[in-house]
Amino acid sequence: MHVGLYSEQGVLAENAELRARLEAVEDVLQAIRSGEVDALVVESAVGPHIYALQGVDAASNRFRGDILAQVSDAVIATDNNHRITYMNAAAEKQYDVGVSGALGKLLTTVYRSKWINPGDEEAATNALRQRGEWRGESLHVRLDGRELRVESSVTMLQGIIGQPEGLLAIIRDITQRALAHDRLQESEALYLSVLEVSPDCLKIVDNSGKLEYMNSSGCKLMGIDDFNLWRGRHWSSLWSAENAQTVNKAVAAARGGIATRFEAYGTTTGGVFKWWDVFVSPILDNRGQTLRIFAASRDITERKRANAQLRESQARLSHAANAAMLTYVAADFERGYLQTPENFAAVMGFAVQREEALEGASGPQFLLDHVIMNDRLRVATALGKFLSGSEPSGKFDYLVLGDDDIERCIETVWSVEYAFDGKPLRAFATNLDISERKRAEVKTQLLMAEVNHRAKNLLAVVQAVAQQTAKHDDPATFVERLSERIGGLAASHDLLVKNEWQGVDMADLVRSQLAHFQDLIGTRVQLDGRPARLTPSAAQGIGMALHELATNAGKYGALSNSVGQVQLSWHIVMAIKPMVLISWSETGGPNVIPPKRKGFGQMVIGRMAEAAVDGTAEIEYRESGISWTLSAPVADTLEKGWEADAI
C-alpha cells in the first residue's frame, strides 16, 4: 500500500521538476525568438561564451546550435518540406540515428508519428497554424519499431520577414514516466478495488487524523451516503466523546509508527448501535516515516451478541446440569488427560477440588476409592473399558460414598471418538446422580410385590368363598350367590384402595354393602353411629358379614316385604377395655324360622366375623326378626387415633 503512495509522490515530484526545467528553457527560447534578448552569456567548462543575437547571422545561428546542443531533451528542426535541418545529440540517442545521415532527410526517416487520441493531429496542426506553437503528448515509432511516448514542444521557425521557414521541436521521451504513471494508476486502482471489496470499514486518514478515504462497505456500515461530506473531517468526530479519545490515541500511536488495536462501540451516522474491532496502522515510507494512517474497523456487533448468547446459554446449561445433578468427564487419550467441570465434586459428593480429584492418571483411582468396597472390581473393569477406548460406548451405574457420608447412585454413560486409523482420540462420559430414580425403583418394586401379595391374598379369599359357597349353598344358586359375594368383596376393596389401605369409615362400609337398598337408607334402614375408622382386616370381615345380613334380609327378612325395618348401629362402650358394639336388628319382616343347618351365611356372621375382629358375635332368630350383635375390642377393630374421635 505505502509503496504505491510513495511512487506516486516520487513521480509527481520528478514530473513537476522536469516540467519546470522545460518551461525555463522554453522561456529562454521564446525570448530569443521574439528578439527581446540581445545577447546571452552561457557558462561552460571553458569559460563564458558571449553570444550576440542580432539578426540571423552565422554567429547567432552557431549560438542557436550551441545552446540547443546543450539541452538534454531531443531537439530536431525541419524545413517547410519536413527535411531535417538540425538534430542535437540527445535526438540522435533518442531515435538511434546519426546526425550526418539524418540531415536533409525527411523527418519520417527518423520516426513516424502516431496520435494518442483521434483529433490530436488536427489540434496540433491548428495550433501551429494559428499560434505558431504546439505542445502535447504523442507516440513516436522509431525505425527499429520501438514506440516512444513523447511530450513535444513544437515552435514554428520564422524568417526575417516572418515567413515560415520550418519547425523546431523539443521532444522528451516520457515512455518510462508514462509507463510508471500507468502502472501507478493501475496499482492504485487495484489497491482501491481491494479496499472496495473488503466487507470491513476501511479508512485512510492523514497524520492529523483527517479522513481521506473510506471504502464503500465502510460508508454503507456507517450510514454515510456521500463520503465527500466527510472527507477532511476528523475520524474521531465519527465517534462518541469517550471513544474519540481512544481513536485519537490510536492515531497518535500510528503517527509514531505503532499499530494498535481496540474494541469500541458507537452509533453510526444512521443511528445504529454497533461494536467495532478497530485496527490502526501507520503507512510508512521507505525511511520509516508515517505517510498516512490506515484504519480497518470490523463490525463485530453480531459476534458480540452471539458471544453474549453463548455465555448465557452456557450459564443456563450449567444451571440445568447442576439442578439435574449431571456432570461429566472428558478424557483426552493423546495427552493422557482427564478433565472435569466445576460441578463434578458437588455431584459426586467429593470434598476436594476437582483439579486434585480427577486430573491425570490418579483420577480413576480417586473415583474408585469412593466406590463402595464390594463393588470396586466391577466398577474398575467398567472404568477400564471407558478409559482405554476398547469399546465405543457403554453405561454402568455404581454407588459412591461421598466425603459427606451420603451414598449416591451414579450412572455413567460414555462414548469414545476414534481417529481414522482406529486409535481412540477422546472419550466423553456423563455422570448422573440417579439416587432418586433408584430409590423410586426400589419403592416401585416393593409396591409391585405388595400389590401381587394382596392380589394373591384376595384371590385366596375368593377361592375360599367359592369353595364354601359350593359346599353350603344350593347348587342352583351357586353362580348368583358367588357373584354377589365377590361383588361385596370388591366394594370393600374399592374403599380400601380409595383410602390407600389406611382404613375405612364404618358409614362408608355400610353404604357400600347395602348398595342394593340405598333408597331405603334413612327410612326403612336406620343407621346410627359416629365416625369410626375400621382397620383393613376388620373392614373386610365386617363388610362380608353386612353383605350376608343384607342379602338374607332382602330374600327372607325385614327387607323382603314392603314394611320391615332394619336398625343398624355402632357404638363404643367401656368395659374392661373399650369395645365396639355393632348391632343389626330387623323388625316387621315375615316370621323368622331358625335355619336347620349351618350355611355359609351363619359361618360368615359368626366365626368369621369373630375372627376378623377378635370379638364375639351373637345371633338371635327372634320371630319378629333376626338380631345380630358383634362385640369387638377397639384395639383390634379401629385404626389408631380414630377410637378417641368415635367415643
Binding site: L459, V461, Q463, M603, V604
Partner: protein, 131 residues
C-alpha cells in the same frame, strides 16, 4: 404311624375366611384341628402347650412375621407348612425346613403336602428311634 385322625393340626392365618375354609377342608379330609388362630401369641400358646402335632402357618400376619411360631415349631421338632401370598424368595424369613405353598392353592395340594411331610417326618423319627 400316626393316623390322620390323631394328627392335630394348628392353623395360623390372619385371613379368617381362608383359615375357616382350610379348617373345613382338613376336617373333611379326616384330620383333627388343634386350633384355628389369627395371632402369633395364640399360636405360640398352642405350640408350647403341646396341643398340636403339625401346623400350617401364614408367613405374614397383618404385617407381623410368623417366624416366632416357625421357630417354636422347629424347636419342638414339629413339621409345618408355610403359606403366603408372597413368593418364597420375596419372603424376608426363609423358614428353613418348611414346605412352602403360595396362595391361592388347591385343597388337594395342601392335603398331599401334609401327608408327604408327615411320612417324611415319621421316617426320620423312626430312624432316630432305632439308633
Amino acid at each position: 404311624m400316626i393316623s390322620k385322625k390323631k394328627l392335630r393340626i394348628l392353623i395360623l392365618d390372619d385371613e379368617p375366611m381362608i383359615a375357616l375354609n382350610l379348617e373345613e377342608i382338613l376336617i373333611d379330609a379326616g384330620f383333627t384341628i388343634a386350633a384355628v388362630v389369627h395371632k402369633i401369641d395364640k399360636a405360640l400358646a398352642v405350640i408350647e402347650g403341646g396341643a398340636c402335632d403339625f401346623a400350617i402357618i401364614d408367613a405374614n400376619l397383618a404385617g407381623v412375621s410368623a417366624s416366632p411360631a416357625a421357630s417354636a415349631l422347629a424347636k419342638r421338632g414339629l413339621p409345618f407348612i408355610v403359606v403366603s401370598g408372597y413368593s418364597r424368595k420375596q419372603l424376608q424369613v426363609n423358614f428353613p425346613g418348611a414346605h412352602f405353598l403360595q396362595k391361592p392353592f388347591q385343597p388337594t395340594q395342601i392335603i398331599q403336602a401334609i401327608s408327604a411331610m408327615v411320612l417324611k417326618h415319621q421316617g426320620l423319627t423312626t430312624a432316630k428311634g432305632e439308633i
